[in-house]
Symmetry: C2
């Protein structure tokens, strides 16, 4: 494998010194980029794009050609695992994901197996290998998965939901069955993420999109405990380097301490939390990734710059910050505004980092 | 006005002793009830139901005929104020609310006036008067409004949104204009709620549905400060009795202390917060209302009962708890499950309240 030229992202996740704060954007390969829309049109539907390693590689690299980002993230979808389990995933225009065979009873849960990452999910591993080759050491590649609770939500509901009738019906009404489902999904995620590392992923992120809709007690029992199980089972070193793991529960700002206790390396933080407060709470146990409101990118570049400055000041000097949005970039954002955001992070963060032993401390 | 026969709800909000914990449900007059669906079909569309005081009274009372609820809440919509401002509200089937004339620039903000509660909004006050008469003192009547930030979100977006592109574009890009809009809306809400009290509302609730999508700093500046302005301007006594005010920011669990500091009487709490923790944080400054996950109502009655017991135990003995769901009841809930919930609150809460000076303390 090519030597890594820019390891700021990995160093920040290990809370090691960096010259400037590294930055990437969730959903950075996405619809706000005209070149993404062109490639997607070529692929046909969304899953065809995910399942084509060459095109997945192409869209993964697109934002890196525009912006000096410090990490690439595998272009894929969180629903690849349930799709590989045979649930029949499709994306209807404007409707979001839909499963032909939702998992609603004991027979359906029992029928689920752990998909083979180099079998049904080989297209994902091929994409990881292709992207790693194409990156040629420019920046590290992040692999990812949905959290067990988040995947289970889609699997039981059969798609997106506002009311969680089926999945919470199962959680509250048949908790044993829900645990059985989550255990199978957690084992599948562990296997899947370890295969991504074997294929070349240099960091991992687990997206818990729906953990924030649970009570504190149920969050622990039905979401966090299964992320813990995954963290415990992950390959944490590859190519002679630590493979850091980031957990991100959207709306999980109240539970950062418990998330840090899993032994992960970093926590994604959304914008409803003050980053300085979050840092004070988790201390030096984990790095923090975030947390600008993606809607700030609708504002003029000078306002974006001001918000970046506010967040850098909130985190303060020292190690352990990866700058990011608090959620995926929106599709109607002007790509020039994303560029202003990334430049602002690099330019404004230098004073928060020690330039080296020979120099005066910057702050 | 008829004497109030059941004042548990008002007493609990004043943190005074009660025999059992009072309970009501957000959206208790709603689609889960077949009798509601019948009345709504008779009215035609949703706004026609809101604008017909007789039918609004009918649906307000329907849940009270089924269940021993401790409060009634005016049947209306949070968007009556922007509708009265001339924004042209309609509800498309399955689409949610839509405004024909969204407020997107300075001219549109300047054109907004404070609606006359006994003019364009007289139908709401007529509904309050009709319901008060029909209740005949059975339980108190809650009046309500959306928060300025929540109303502004709909007014600027022109409907529901997932990305908040327009409203956050204005917040971040033209904060002065956003403040001007919020000031007009806050004055309208104050006038509107005071008119509801004059018409007979015995308690008030402000629904801040979208405050939870803001950063902590913006929540204070763009949502909480305007709720403060309303609280400061409200009539707090009527018919010789305090008119308590409840603030509810969905997803606002991190900001309960600041909300309590407004001088309101109660805080709505959603289920992502442990109620005992919330009580420890706000002390005896305010009562708490909540906080069962409405999805628990999909589970069997014995599971519902268990969740009620857990929440009562979490709040603990003493005064200042109004039981409620943490959000509106869902449309697909079995009405019998709602009944099991309400009965469980009354039955299981008695041991948490002191039966009187002559008896042994219950706990």
């Amino acid at each position: 494998m090519a030597e890594l030229h820019n390891d700021r992202f990995l160093r920040a996740l290990m809370r090691q010194p960096v010259d400037v704060t590294p930055v990437w954007m969730m959903r950075q390969a996405g619809r706000y980029l005209p070149e993404y829309r062109a490639t997607r049109a070529q692929a046909g539907d969304f899953m065809s794009l995910c399942k084509n390693p060459e095109l997945a590689c192409e869209v993964t690299l697109q934002p890196l050609e525009r912006y000096p980002l410090d990490a690439a993230i595998l272009f894929s979808d969180i629903l690849t695992i349930p799709d590989a389990m045979g649930l029949g995933l499709s994306f209807e225009a404007g409707e979001g994901p839909r499963f032909a065979h939702p998992v609603r009873d004991a027979a359906a849960v029992r029928a689920l197996g752990v998909p083979d990452p180099e079998g049904e999910l080989r297209y994902v591993m091929d994409a990881v290998r292709t992207i790693r080759g194409a990156l040629a050491g420019k920046v590290p590649l992040i692999g990812f998965s949905g959290s067990p609770w988040t995947l289970a939500t889609y699997m039981v509901e059969g798609g997106s939901t506002k009311e969680y009738a089926h999945v919470k019906g199962m959680l509250y009404g048949e908790p044993g069955l829900m645990h059985q489902l989550l255990a199978t999904v957690a084992d599948s995620v562990t296997t899947y993420l370890n295969a991504q590392v074997a294929a070349g992923a240099q960091a991992l992120m687990i997206f818990d999109t729906w953990g924030g809709v649970l009570t504190p007690r149920d969050y622990k029992a039905f979401s966090l405990d299964y992320m813990q199980r995954i963290v415990d089972g992950l390959t944490r070193e590859a190519e002679g380097r630590k493979v850091p793991v980031i957990l991100f529960t959207k709306g999980g700002g109240a539970w950062l301490e418990a998330m840090a206790d899993t032994g992960c390396d970093g926590l994604g933080v959304d914008w409803t939390v003050n980053l300085g407060d979050a840092r004070a709470r988790v201390g030096d146990r984990v790095a923090l990734q975030g947390n600008m409101d993606p809607s700030v990118l609708y504002a003029p570049p000078e306002r974006i710059r001001k918000e970046v400055a506010t967040i850098l000041e909130s985190f303060g000097p020292g190690n352990g910050h990866v700058f990011n949005l608090g959620h995926g970039i929106h599709q109607h954002v002007d790509p020039a505004h994303a560029g202003a955001f990334i430049d602002a992070v690099h330019e404004l963060s230098a004073p928060y980092h020690d330039p080296g032993d020979d120099a005066e401390p910057a702050l």
